[in-house]
């Protein structure tokens, strides 16, 4: 793996998150019935940051939950060596809510497909919206994001790494090239 370019630094990542918070509030006309659900792992930290931003703007704390989608993946074998099953922690009822699903990178769309199944097993939201920090293209399913921090068109041989203070010690987004 070789780092090719930094596409977001700490400051610009923070600005992107702040803008997304404003967009979420604008589209939903405030915080009425709004809640955030982050997909493990980095989506959780981003959801938390969006919630903090929303709180600063509106002085309202929106409910925030954690979704683990391991059990909803469409292929057990692909995750066999990587993912450990972790807890879903959503301690509020999502029925009749506007759920903003939060993830770090939108790529094939398969993670989001799994997350939609997982959410719908937990209740019947009025609507589900999607917020991602990075949209890198190459969708394999008809899924799109409602809020995007930054669009980064990538080649198949490249991948995008989102690093966050909470999990990686610093905030940045880089493009890495897979060595062949």
């Amino acid at each position: 793996m070789r780092e090719k370019a930094t596409v977001l630094d700490k400051e610009n990542l923070a600005r992107a998150v702040t803008r997304m918070a404003h967009e979420i509030l604008e589209k939903n006309k405030g915080t009425q019935n709004l809640c955030l659900v982050g997909i493990r792992n980095r989506g959780v930290y981003l959801a938390e940051r969006l919630a903090k931003n929303i709180e600063e703007i509106e002085k309202v704390r929106v409910p925030t939950g954690v979704l683990d989608i391991t059990l909803y993946r469409d292929d057990l074998t692909l995750i066999a060596d990587k993912a450990q099953v972790r807890k879903t922690e959503i301690d509020f009822d999502i029925t009749a809510k506007i759920v903003v699903l939060v993830d770090d990178v939108l790529y094939t769309g398969r993670t989001i497909r799994s997350a939609l199944d997982a959410l719908i097993d937990l209740g019947r939201p009025d609507s589900i919206q999607l917020a991602v920090l990075i949209d890198r293209g190459h969708r394999e399913l008809p899924i799109r994001a409602d809020y995007v921090g930054k669009n980064i068109p990538t080649a198949q041989g490249e991948s995008v790494e989102v690093r966050l203070e909470e999990s990686d010690g610093k905030d940045e987004v880089v493009i890495v090239e897979k060595e062949i």
């Binding site: 066999a80 060596d81 450990q84 879903t88 922690e89 997982a118 097993d121």
Partner: protein, 314 residues
């Protein structure tokens, strides 16, 4: 990381593997609290419960666990099956494999039966109790319940009381608890204490009050009078007197000692009703936790089998 296609016993597992099962089970516990108590993780998989001994709670627990993972479940009670016509365990296993089932959950009265079956089929085998040897998922759910209630296993003092000689539950518990750093004491009448217990890492006591006095938890085994062909103990009520866990005995133990029992309880024999229903008892939590633990085990062996198949293709 989990790479075993089977779960045969706790003796062969590493500390890390035990911890992985426990933490996976913790995640699965949440599923049973949902309104829709089901996740699609094992959709399209078939789990066969192959039971050569009567069992209701273990079989139902495995069945519920498999169904909450969206697997299809088939129950075979051996007394009503071709085992009566003389089919061997291995032949039965190969027939189940030919049906394209994915996991066999087996209970058998011969020690080592699950291991033998696992060597002779390519699909996963989960031991639901083999003779006097091991009952790994029972011990895992006991350990899970301890950890959930007391927050840790390392350094805990756990006493196991009852018929140790004929207990696969005791053996699996000793292996598992010792590996996770608990101090295990086993307590039984001399005639029900098997040789080799100390080599497994447990301390022996023949005095129930001594075994209880500084224990953080006591696991009370079921006295199996219906199977006691040797007539090891003359009379059931004498047993309560000498080794039964009663409220009077608990008064001399730690105030918040945890009381466990694998069920079904003989009230008034190994344990008084007061204790079984009392504030220290976590017996029904054990039943709830059994589902989470068995979901974790079924999930992990299925995942390992799938990744083996992928490797074989590559």
């Amino acid at each position: 990381m989990w790479i075993r296609k089977d779960l045969l016993g706790l003796e062969e597992l590493s500390k890390e593997e035990l911890e992985l099962i426990l933490s996976t089970a913790e995640s699965f516990k949440e599923v049973s609290t949902r309104e829709i108590k089901k996740v699609p993780a094992l959709r399209g998989k078939t789990v066969v419960n192959l039971f050569y001994e009567p069992s209701t709670r273990t079989r139902v627990s495995f069945e519920v666990a498999a169904k909450r993972l969206s697997a299809d479940v088939i129950n075979i009670a051996a007394e009503a099956s071709s085992a009566r016509k003389g089919e061997t365990l291995i032949d039965t296993g190969r027939n189940i494999e030919a049906l394209k089932a994915d996991i066999i959950v087996v209970r058998h009265n011969a020690s080592g039966a699950a291991a033998m079956l696992a060597r002779n089929v390519n699909i996963s085998v989960v031991n639901a109790g083999d003779g006097w040897h091991e009952h790994p998922t029972q011990a895992l759910l006991d350990i899970f319940t301890l950890k959930e209630t007391l927050g840790r296993i390392e350094g805990l003092k756990v006493s196991i009381v009852g018929d140790i000689a004929h207990s696969r539950v005791a053996r699996s518990n000793i292996w598992g608890l010792a590996k996770l750093g608990a101090q295990v004491t086993v307590c039984a009448p001399r005639i029900l204490m098997p040789p080799g217990i100390e080599e497994m890492g447990a301390r022996i006591s023949y005095d129930i009050d001594e075994a209880l006095h500084d224990a953080d938890a006591v696991n009370v085994l079921r006295m199996q009078f219906e199977r006691d062909e040797q007539k090891a103990f003359p009379n059931q009520f004498e047993y309560l007197e000498a080794f039964g866990v009663t409220q009077e005995r608990l008064k001399k133990a730690k105030k918040d000692i945890i009381v466990m029992h694998p069920g079904p309880i003989n009230r008034g024999i190994e344990m008084s009703s007061e204790v079984a229903d009392g504030a220290n008892s976590v017996i029904l939590e054990q039943v709830t936790n059994g589902i989470a633990v068995r979901m974790a085990v079924l999930f992990l062996v299925a995942q390992a089998s799938d990744s083996r198949k992928t490797e074989a293709h590559e």
